[in-house]
Symmetry: D2
Subunit: 329 residues, 4 copies
């Protein structure tokens, strides 16, 4: 049996997901939908699909699954339409920048009885997931403290930032999800602070580019997240979890394992360039996981409830930053 997918969104992340979907055995990408006709056509051709309108794609009973890879502000409406049409849903994070709208989506999905997975790809990264597996196997005992370093190689254009919901919703949403995933507990206390040190235009836009968040869970586990829009050495994606019996440290991935030694020192490669490189394998594994779960009936590793929970933490951090005081959930 072939599972048939419609892909909504033919931009950068849409192309990644569509190619991974098309390479899965037993999966057919039937439609690609995007208001930019050229993008839709080009992607459709490369995966052997047709260009269609969202109406047509949703209306085709042969389409079992919808993959939402369009801009953030379209996610919630598309989730609702897909749920209403009884399609299973794979949706890129976030559900929506508004927590109430995200909650409404979760309710719509539940009411429709469809499956819905949110694309927090970091949970599928070979390094991060290996750490999670070892943690689950008890190799370092009970987790107590998580330290996340999450830095982009450079700030996006200010017009992007203005529509992004701010650094906590746009960039740290992944880290909030990692916090909940690794500590295996819900957060009850959030304190955030930050500064604009990279680009004054970001401050003018009402945002910050450098931030520090601390979270404490109900059982007293601690998490610190440090982030910056600009790391001169590249995309820095690491975490360390301290447990009662040891530590698991997740390092960056490198393009090669060449070490160069010369008169100026001993030199390793910089981290892989950006998220498309670092998480290439994670993106592949997460859509494979989606279909394995559909097949087996097992729960997704990243549910729509996880999407809502991360969003609430982003809201709390944002509020804490603005008020200068901690927020209790």
């Amino acid at each position: 049996m072939t599972r048939t997918v419609a892909v909504f969104g033919a931009g950068r992340i849409g192309r990644i997901h569509a190619a991974n979907l098309a390479a899965l055995p037993g999966v057919q990408v039937r439609y690609v939908c995007d208001p930019v006709a050229d993008s839709a056509a080009s992607l459709a051709q490369s995966v052997g699909a047709q260009v269609a309108s969202i109406d047509d794609a949703v209306g085709d009973p042969a389409v079992e699954i919808v993959a939402i890879t369009s801009p953030t502000d379209t996610h919630s409406e598309l989730i609702n339409r897909a749920a209403a049409a009884r399609k299973h849903i794979f949706c890129e994070k976030p559900i929506d920048l508004s927590v109430p709208r995200a909650v409404a989506c979760a309710e719509a999905v539940k009411a429709a009885g469809v499956a819905c997975m949110i694309g927090f790809q970091r949970r599928f990264d070979p390094t991060f997931n290996e750490a999670k597996q070892r943690l689950a196997a008890g190799e370092i005992g009970e987790p107590e403290m998580l330290v996340i370093t999450s830095r982009d190689p450079g700030a996006p254009p200010v017009h992007y930032l203005k529509a992004s919901g701010g650094i906590f919703r746009d960039m740290l949403i992944h880290d909030f999800d990692v916090c909940r995933w690794i500590l295996g507990d819900e957060v009850e206390w959030v304190s955030a602070t930050g500064s604009c040190l990279v680009d004054p235009a970001i401050e003018e836009a009402g945002d910050i580019d450098t931030a520090a968040v601390t979270l404490r869970t109900k059982s007293g586990k601690l998490c610190q997240i440090n982030t910056s829009r600009r790391a001169a050495y590249g995309y820095d994606q690491r975490f360390e979890v301290l447990g009662s019996k040891g530590l698991l440290a997740c390092g960056n991935h490198r393009p090669s394992e060449v070490v160069q030694m010369d008169a100026s020192g001993v030199h390793h490669d910089k981290p892989e360039h950006f998220f498309l490189q670092r998480y290439r394998e994670a993106y592949r594994l997460e859509v494979a996981h989606f279909f394995e779960c559909l097949q087996s009936g097992a729960p997704f590793r990243t549910t729509i409830a996880d999407g809502v929970a991360a969003q609430k933490l982003a809201d709390a951090a944002s509020e804490s930053w603005k008020s200068g005081q901690a927020v209790t959930l």
Copy 2:
């Protein structure tokens, strides 16, 4: 235009190459040929090809390219048949365990005017190739000394070893190719020694399992190769090249970048399990390179002449080991 390939050999390495070929845009695997009918059928199905006899595949004028991934002792005959039929050839290493037969293949290929690439996949490994690129760019000056560590995780069955041509032809053939590639010079002096330390049955079979080879090139560059059939910690594939201005060291690849620290120490992953894992990306890149060169007319990175040259070094090392004395080429 689609390029049409017949794959000869549906064993372990045949499946790797066939899948990589089938995933290349503009390439069609039309036939899979293997005396084991089930293997042929299974592989043919997975890449959308038909099962055929070698006669039929070679006889089909629509077949432009032959990929030889069958057992070593069939390579030279298949190269000759493919050349006679004016097919371009991709052939797994080695050409043949006999240098005269390998030379004859090279002559047949030249006479037929077909392209022929030998699959020394290490030259396509992202780490090894990055080192080569930096060397070529002059980052460490002129190469002077190469140290190659090449160890398998465990010895194959003795019946395999008996047909293998011995450790120098079976296992070090890759290292001899790396030596020529990295030092960029021809060898004029070879000294080899070895012992049987892993399994006495290997000694009874007339072979050794632990070996040390030193080579000196015409311009005085030096290379040392150390090898073992058994490294308890896994597949160890590294080299270091010292140049007049520095060093390039190529480390092993790891499944993940998790570092675990606990009461017993600080632990990193073992190297990737074996050649199918470590060289997965190299296998993919080498067949892509094959088609890029066919397209552009550029020379292959690993020619049939390279195959012959590596074979001659394996013969010289084997002779040196047996005589206990150095061999001058």
Copy 3:
């Protein structure tokens, strides 16, 4: 000219400092004072000094310098006595658990016109100081974010903790000093939280064993400190400073550079056991620095004002932890 020192305190840290002092050319340890007669006698013998009472030592005009290495609760009184007697002072951290008393000491020292250095030995650690030098040289631009990992191998006895002033004053005092030193700016906002995850007896004693602190400086630089009384893998002392042009990461020191690879993985040494090992060289360098500054008149790297400032941050963190809210300085 020989400089003559009286050492107050013959315990663990007193022995370290006395031996380092005695090994300095031009320095003579004349007296060792300690209420435990055996300790005093043993240490005096090993450094060629005499046992004396504090009164006698302070009263000897030949004594130019007093090294205070006694228990914390005696520091402020001894500083005041030494200052009154016009002796130069080297005092182990902290000045006093009470900020007002520490401030009073600073005033007494100033009034007496004597030199006074506080022993924050981390500033003399070869790794940490190398990072500071590179930062000062502009190698990573302006510092923006500091992440400090500071973990002990195990919790001390509860009776020790009860007299320690709590985790922020006892353990993080060093980290607050590192924060000021590395960021080169004064803190204006502190948020701290923590839990008791290691030993319930610590909670009963009114303290915590796992803590997370965030600090923001006047110019908006950020610092996160994570700490635990118990790291199963040993004494973990690292920091990373992100600057506008790069990152400086200070790793742990290891007893040896042996890497062991076996069937269970790739293993490095654990960090050096505890502070006496890790900071052995730092302790040696800091007393050498003390005498170099006395000689040259240059200011100490760690002044009594630094001691007061770190103490104030410890108080603020402690207050923030108790109230659950951020503290503005």
Copy 4:
């Protein structure tokens, strides 16, 4: 009881040893002897000794021990004189560039019944010795293959090289000792080759600057040594020993554990500058070992027999290099 030492030689290595000797409890350096009067006086003052002639020092019955740290060509005569005077002997490597003279020294020492240790300091290096201890504890099973990388940061002046006995006797003597120490077996087969790639003046002086040696022991263990007079990245001192159950790899030591990441890559420190830095701790530990053995009667870790054996391997390697053929011992 104080043990009294006369130091013969106040050059670079003499100063190292004299300072380490003087710092040992229960050891007194009574005389420093050196034909360069200023050097002798300066060193004597710094360790609280007197300047003396060798005759006077050897003639003083209070002198129990002679430390020979003078130029190589004086070692054998001084060993013979010290043995004749019934002094215990610590002698820097090598015993003598001539194997017969070295053998004669060993016989003289034996006849006199004095203790004699040869200063192969690498056996006392914390990293190398840790590997040896683990090997002895069986952590990687039986050793099978040793790979030694031994490179200097730059070639010494040609006039030095002319008197040095050549690269195998001057530089690789340490590596031959490491080979015997780590493999725990005697060598029966040696093959060496080399080139002059660094400086043509070295070739004119009849020497080489780049060399590769392979040794096979009686039980079939293998050792490869690669060496160069010039590593642009500094003093490179590493070895890896493969055993039946794993590998022990000894890395270089670094001045600090700072890792710098910036737009040009990820940078570690170069190795410690040269032998005085890298082996500083080893030099300290080896003289301490000398006195511990004198005290306890335990055998030295590096005997005069080890000195003779390493010298024989250097001769064999030199002969192999010149003849182009392997040498069987």
